[in-house]
Amino acid sequence: MTLNQALITVLAGTVGTCGFSLLFRINKKHVAFATIGGFITCVVYVICCRYIDDVFFQNFIPALVATAYSEVMARVTKSPATPYIICSIIALVPGGKLYYTMYYFVSGSYPEFRVTVLETLKIAAGIAVGIIIISVIIHQINYSKFKQIYDVD
């Protein structure tokens, strides 16, 4: 990937993220922060694609960074982290892979089909692990406090 292509990818990803934040109708005050989240994710993603071959880590590291950014911004703007996480991570959702999986299946190229299915699952796993590490740990801490206060069995 040349520098020019990388810049175009980042720009397109940022515009796409901005579009999704408008489509999901998040609070207008937070659109800018969500778009910045998408921008950071795209930059990290492009860098990872350049230096790492494994699709798992290509998606795991950006997802991790996006979640960390979202949790920080949620505390800065005093709002839930979910809108930020969803908008920042949307660029990693393997829409392209889904298309190629379908395309290879339809055109009867079964070896490529098998590879893309596995890659799609790997990407999904990468994103999932990236979100877990930060978001779920924070949730577990908050939830155990909540349980103690409200006496939930």
Binding site: G19, L23, I90, F105, H139, Y150
Partner: protein, 257 residues
Amino acid sequence: MTENNKQDTEAILSLAMDLGKSMIKCGAEIDRVEETIIRICHAFGMKKTEVFSIVSMINVTTVDPDGHAYTQSRRVYSYSTNLGRLERLNSLSRSICCQAVSFDEAREILDTIIGEKNGFHTTACIGAVLAAGGFAVFFGGTIKDCLAAMPIAVMIYLMNTYIKARGMSKLFYTALCSIVSGFLAIFFVRIGFGDNPAMIMIGDIMLIIPGVTLINSIREMLCGDLMSGILRLLESLILSITIACGFSIPILICAAV
């Protein structure tokens, strides 16, 4: 126990559950919904509250200070993603919990939020256009692909607002949406408006793909809500297969013609 007291408890439970139901309809995670309902019931003085919720159903039993138990349930038929409304519902529940609003005020605010129409919104439509165009280029398309993905995005958004709102099932709507956008993408390339049908379709797939559902399902399963996590995971898998089948029909037909 007076009759008046009983009505109060029922009204409080109704408020908490209506809030929870509209949160699910905006795409909230189940643990957030359950937590909100418990917090609200406690804020109005209930002694103990038990909640069971999955994506299509909420069931709550609450015990008032006199020891009487009340149960209500809500059925949720469909949900979409509206993060702005979710945020407002969240801040409403926060102000209820810190006693910043009275019961009547809270009911009034909630009714205004629920009463808002989910109709056409210009900014959301622009968002769909930007998202489709942006991701067509992100996955390797040209400027022409980006421009071709945009009118299809408008169509998807219009279908989403006007057809899905009429109670059509999500699966059927997704299939219809995929087939029509696939035909349009190939048509645009045939008349020279767009270079690569694959990139145009990928841009538009990003709008229909259940990404939010998938992210939520993983989060829910890891947070301990296996039930709704599995339901959402299945839903996103089935929807993905539907999208793939939907887009493959135009490809197969147009390859033959």
